[in-house]
């Protein structure tokens, strides 16, 4: 199964600073999320499910501390990137649905505005960001080209020549942007026209208050503002006829208004409420159809056209249909500019890759030396930090600046290493202190016990030792180093398969995309149309009417649908659902789950689904991770976890909930979850576990492999452990389920 990993969480540790002490909410969890799958995280409250999801979104509470680990998405470590970078991901790439739909909606804002708010803001930010990204990439390219030729390329090309080339590229792109901008303006006008007319007709149909004349004026304005020749060519006559038709209609409506005015002696302001005449409806429908037709026409590729116009300022390509014009401009662009540009670019790419490979080779040597250095043990803080710095530099140097897809491991390397080294020296200092404290406390307790043998019970508690083995810490440092090394080695091994042409095209595509991002402007009206489409997609009836309502006018299920629509408005890759159905009742819950499942299929979303209800999960999840006290205690595919659970906590969860055929007494889990300020030394579940072994109280169990996709952290899976059978209530249930499943399968 070589599925694409969308998000991977490695060794995440999150704590909270509180008055009572440090609460360790998440203690070292790791999981991967594949593209298009649902990963369910199950556990009771306080097990750290929501903390994990909030860490992914970068919205942890202010008193939280990330103690270690990383969350990798698209080459970035989400725990480390600055807030500005996070802005681009949050909501856009990773969206979240919260438990209570009412508290995640603003009660005094209309639904429509809440859905479109993020779209509009993001659009504005994207346009600014596009320009900078474009400029950065282009200047990097030009720098690399210069270097490549200066350091003895095959061809003698002067710096001036390169600069001329880059300038041409920049200039014709500006030309393209200008053209596209003007095209987009007209197109926007057309799209808005559709919305305006749709709104007017809808409202009049619903017998709502409408101001027909004002709307007609607005329509006229929009018609007139559609001037871009690339957009309107071929439709000039039709548009002109529409304008005159509109004038006629306006006269009719005005006559109606004045008739009404005189008849009912209404003031002009009150004349708004009236019906739209059938002539107007017909005229407007026609305009709408024309607009739709125009939008549906193939679009000009302004990147190509831009160059053509840049070279031949007096030609007019708008007379030629889009597909032909695109073809022609493409030919011209390739012959005149691109072919030679790509040759230069390719040299630069090749040069950059080679250089990066070279420095990678060097870096590998250095890393190997560093591994030996750390493994040897005796080193001082200054030495280690100096080494860390120099390693970071050489690793950073070996990053290919022209790579469009960023290399995550290399980017986060420096920080991760420095943190681990710091930790090492912290423990060097802290361990003896901790030992001393522990010894002192134990002695005190012993003394009290000896004294109080005849008297009261001693309730003296010892805070457990927080000692980290230094060897273990070194192993972690080495693992950080070797991870980068392995990555680099893999890059070196794959070097011969590197396709420079592909990379060239990637770079040009990237530049093109950023350029058109600059000119793509989303207006409120277009956003509205899109929001209404979204609302229909998530199953809200009469979306156009409900667009203007407030959250309190919706029922619980509908509110949750709105929240889902908001989450989907930016078209995210990953959707985090934090108990989305807990506040809803059974039938509504089933609807929302069906909706999420459908959206996942249609949009190929990756979903992290957090819940405490195993029943809900069975329907949704491809894989399940069971969490307890900040750790993942078992994870596997849904079938494995439900039909072959291994961890006693999973057993307990399954057996504590009755299903429809349960008659026997429920196996309740005794006690409550441990206090995470002083997490137990051994297995956190041992206290409540009737299958606990002695070792459970002393050592935390590692993850044992049950099958390649199924792991559980319990000593019961150790080869030396006594054989323990699953509780009867679960085996019974599984047998029952299998029978049923068989029946359903037939």
């Amino acid at each position: 199964m070589s599925k694409e990993i969308k998000l991977s969480v490695n060794n995440l540790k999150v704590s909270f600073r509180t008055d009572a002490g440090k609460v360790q909410a998440v203690r070292d969890i790791s999981f991967d999320l594949y593209k298009g799958e649902t990963l369910a995280i199950v556990g009771e409250s306080g097990s750290g499910k929501s903390v994990t999801s909030k860490a992914i979104m970068g919205i942890s509470a202010v008193n939280s501390i990330y103690e270690g680990g990383e969350i990798l998405y698209d080459g970035q470590d989400l725990l480390r990137i600055p807030e500005e970078e996070m802005h681009k991901l949050r909501g856009d790439k990773v969206a979240m649905i919260f438990q209570d739909p009412l508290s995640s909606l603003n009660p005094i804002m209309r639904i429509g505005r809440q859905i479109t708010e993020a779209m509009l803001l993001k659009n504005k930010a994207n346009r600014q960001e596009g320009r900078t990204a474009f400029n950065t990439m282009l200047s990097t390219l030009s720098e690399t080209m210069k270097k490549a030729f200066a350091e003895g390329g095959e061809k003698e090309v002067s710096t001036a020549e390169i600069e001329r080339f880059i300038k041409t590229f920049d200039d014709f792109n500006i030309q393209a942007i200008k053209l596209e901008n003007s095209y987009n303006e007209s197109r926007t006008a057309a799209e808005e026209l559709i919305t305006i007319i749709e709104d007017l007709l809808f409202l009049s149909e619903k017998k709502q208050k409408v101001d027909v004349i004002a709307t007609l004026k607005l329509v006229g304005g929009h018609l007139k503002s559609m001037t871009d020749k690339y957009f309107v060519t071929g439709y000039e006559a039709v548009l002109a006829s529409h304008v005159s038709a509109l004038e006629n209609v306006k006269k009719i409506e005005k006559a109606k208004v004045s008739a009404l005015d005189t008849a009912k002696k209404l003031v002009a302001g009150n004349a708004a409420k009236k019906e739209v005449s059938s002539e107007t409806v017909a005229a407007l429908r026609e305009i709408q159809n024309t607009a739709k037709e125009m939008i549906a026409r193939p679009k000009y590729d302004f990147f190509r056209i831009g160059y053509y116009v840049y070279k031949n300022p007096n030609t007019d390509l708008s007379k030629i249909p889009a597909t032909e014009a695109n073809e022609m401009a493409y030919q011209f662009l390739t012959d005149d500019f691109m072919s030679s540009f790509i040759i230069y670019e390719k040299i630069a790419v090749q040069y950059s890759v080679n250089k990066s490979l070279e420095s990678k080779k060097k870096a590998i040597d250095e890393l190997q030396a560093a591994i030996d250095f750390f493994k040897a043990g005796s080193f001082t803080a200054a030495e280690a930090h100096a080494l860390c710095k120099s390693l970071d530099k050489s690793v950073r140097d070996s990053i290919d600046p022209l790579a469009v897809v960023k290399d995550s491991v290399a980017y986060t390397f420096g920080g991760a290493l420095a943190r681990e080294i710091e930790k090492y020296f912290f423990y060097v200092k802290n361990n003896p202190k901790e030992e001393a404290r522990f010894a002192a406390q134990t002695a005190k307790r012993e003394a009290l016990l000896a004294k109080g043998k005849t008297g009261k019970a001693v309730s003296w508690k010892i805070v457990p030792k927080s000692v980290v083995e230094l060897d273990e810490q070194i192993r972690i440092i080495v693992s950080v180093l070797s991870r980068v090394m392995n990555k680099f080695q893999a890059d070196l091994d794959n070097a011969e398969y590197f396709d420079a042409d592909k990379r060239c095209i990637e770079i040009i595509d990237y530049l093109k995309e950023k350029a058109s991002q600059v000119v793509y402007k989303l207006t409120k009206r277009i956003a509205k149309e899109r929001a209404i489409k979204l609302m229909e997609e998530v199953g809200i009836p009469e979306a156009r009417l409900r667009y203007r309502q407030y959250p309190f006018e919706f029922s619980g299920g509908m509110r949750q649908r709105i929240v889902i629509a908001i989450a989907l408005s930016a078209n995210p890759d990953i959707l985090i659902c934090d108990e989305p159905t807990t506040a809803l009742d059974v039938t509504i819950q089933a609807q929302i789950l069906e909706l999420i499942n459908r959206l996942k299929r249609e949009r190929d979303l990756s979903i992290i689904f957090i819940t405490h209800d195993l029943g809900v999960v069975a329907n949704m999840a491809d894989r399940i991770a069971v969490m307890y006290a900040g750790k993942i205690v078992e994870y596997g595919t849904a079938e494995e976890v439900f039909y072959n659970p291994q961890h006693p906590y999973t057993w307990a969860l399954l057996s504590s909930m009755p299903d429809l055929d349960t008659n026997e007494k429920l196996d309740a889990i005794p006690g409550t979850p441990p206090n995470m300020i002083y997490p137990p030394v051994g297995d956190a579940f041992a206290e409540r576990n009737k299958y606990a072994l002695e070792i459970d109280y002393e050592m935390q169990p590692p993850m044992f492999e049950v099958s390649p996709t199924h792991y559980a952290a319990t000593w019961l899976l150790h080869p030396n452990a006594p054989k323990v059978e699953m509780p009867k209530i679960i085996t019974d249930r599984i047998n029952r389920m299998k029978e049923k499943g068989g029946n359903y399968g037939e």
């Binding site: 619980g556 059974v586 039938t587 029943g615 429809l660 429920l666």
Partner: protein, 368 residues
């Protein structure tokens, strides 16, 4: 039915309306059921269907609009709306009749009118008498008797006073009912704490020092200390964690066995209700649409709403879940009540469904 001594609580045509501007909101509309002694009766339905209101009306937290509630054969709650409506109808009828008679204008008609007026007046007097007795019962019912019904609330955080110690919370009911002996109160509190699985030391603590499951135990202790015969448990587990839910269910089950409690269990989680209850009533928009033994209900659901509710239960079984098809319920499409009004009818012994004649025939066919 046959043996009236067995019936502990009888709810008879209970209506609970709330004023909403000019209109009434019919939270509970004509609901009737009986709970036998020692039985656990489950009430399910989606949120807003009136489950909780029914529970609260029974324990007299609201003044019921119409209908009667009998506990151990005595009327403890009664509403007047039905009598008022009857009087109004009678008067209107009389008015219409008088108009008719006047138009006719003969002596015979006059005599008829006279007779009718007397009849109606007698009827109204009777209704007024009933109404007076209902008001009296509602106001001055046997207080002693009513303390035998206790309630457990949904949210253990909201339902415990944060400024009272656990001892005060549990003893409050005893004090209100005139118990003054401190020793006795303490002994009762300690006993009850141990019964619900807490320890004596907990008595002097405040609610915030407890976990969710323990708080719900305090809520249960407060209810049980009054030695009730019946407990109304209003979603006692939906605010709790999965691992704690089973503890509370087991506790309620144990109490039921040891104290011989009768429980009205209100919840929206069908698997839990099925596990806990002997009989189940399904509510939909203020109406009781189906009532049957829990096994019978799950085996032969008759009303389409029950079917849709059952089809929405998620189970911890991936293979089953992926094949599960949900039935949707649309009351407008399912029923045609334009001609024939529905009522609550017994299809098979002990299995009641809210339906009209045509549907009754259909359901009978389905059961066969």
């Amino acid at each position: 039915m046959e043996n009236n001594n067995d019936v502990l609580l009888k709810v008879d045509h209970l209506c609970q309306y709330f004023r909403m501007g000019r209109k009434d909101l019919k939270a509970v509309d004509d609901v009737s059921f009986e709970i036998k002694k020692g039985e656990a009766f489950g009430l399910v339905g989606e949120s807003g269907c009136g489950k909780t209101t029914t529970g609260r009306s029974i324990i007299k937290l609201y003044n019921i609009t119409s209908g009667n509630v009998y506990f151990k054969g005595q009327r403890i709650g009664a509403g007047t709306r039905s009598y008022k409506d009857a009087i109004k109808n009678a008067r209107n009828e009389l008015k219409a009749f008088a108009k008719e008679c006047k138009e006719e204008g003969t002596d015979e008609a006059k005599a008829k009118l006279q007779k009718k007026t007397e009849e109606v007046q007698a009827f109204i007097a009777e209704q007024k008498k009933e109404m007076a007795s209902a008001i009296r019962d509602q106001k001055h019912c046997d207080k002693e008797l009513v303390t035998k019904i206790q309630m457990i609330f949904q949210d253990p955080i909201a339902s415990l006073d944060p400024r009272m110690t656990v001892r005060d919370i549990i003893a409050e009911g005893l004090v209100i009912n005139g118990m003054t002996d401190k020793e006795l109160i303490n002994r009762k509190v300690y006993d009850i704490l141990e019964t619900v699985g807490l320890v004596r030391e907990h008595a002097d603590r405040y609610p915030h020092e407890f976990s969710g499951g323990q708080r719900q135990r305090i809520g249960i202790a407060r209810a049980v200390v009054m030695q009730p015969e019946m407990i109304i448990a209003d979603e006692p587990i939906s605010a709790l964690d999965v691992s704690i839910q089973a503890q509370v269910i087991n506790l309620l089950n144990d109490l039921r066995d040891s104290m011989g409690l009768t429980i009205l269990f209100i919840a929206h989680d069908l698997s839990v209700v099925k596990y806990f209850s002997d009989r189940i009533g399904v509510m939909y928009f203020g109406k009781l649409v189906e009532l049957a033994d829990s096994d019978e209900l799950f085996k032969h659901p008759l009303h389409p709403y029950t079917k849709s509710l059952l089809s929405a239960i998620p189970l911890p079984d991936p293979v089953y879940e992926k094949q599960r098809t949900r039935i949707t319920y649309n009351p407008l499409a399912e029923h045609d009540y334009s001609v024939d009004q529905p009522s609550f009818r017994e299809i098979t012994p002990g299995h009641f469904v809210y339906c009209n004649d045509a549907e009754e025939a259909k359901y009978r066919e389905m059961v066969k």
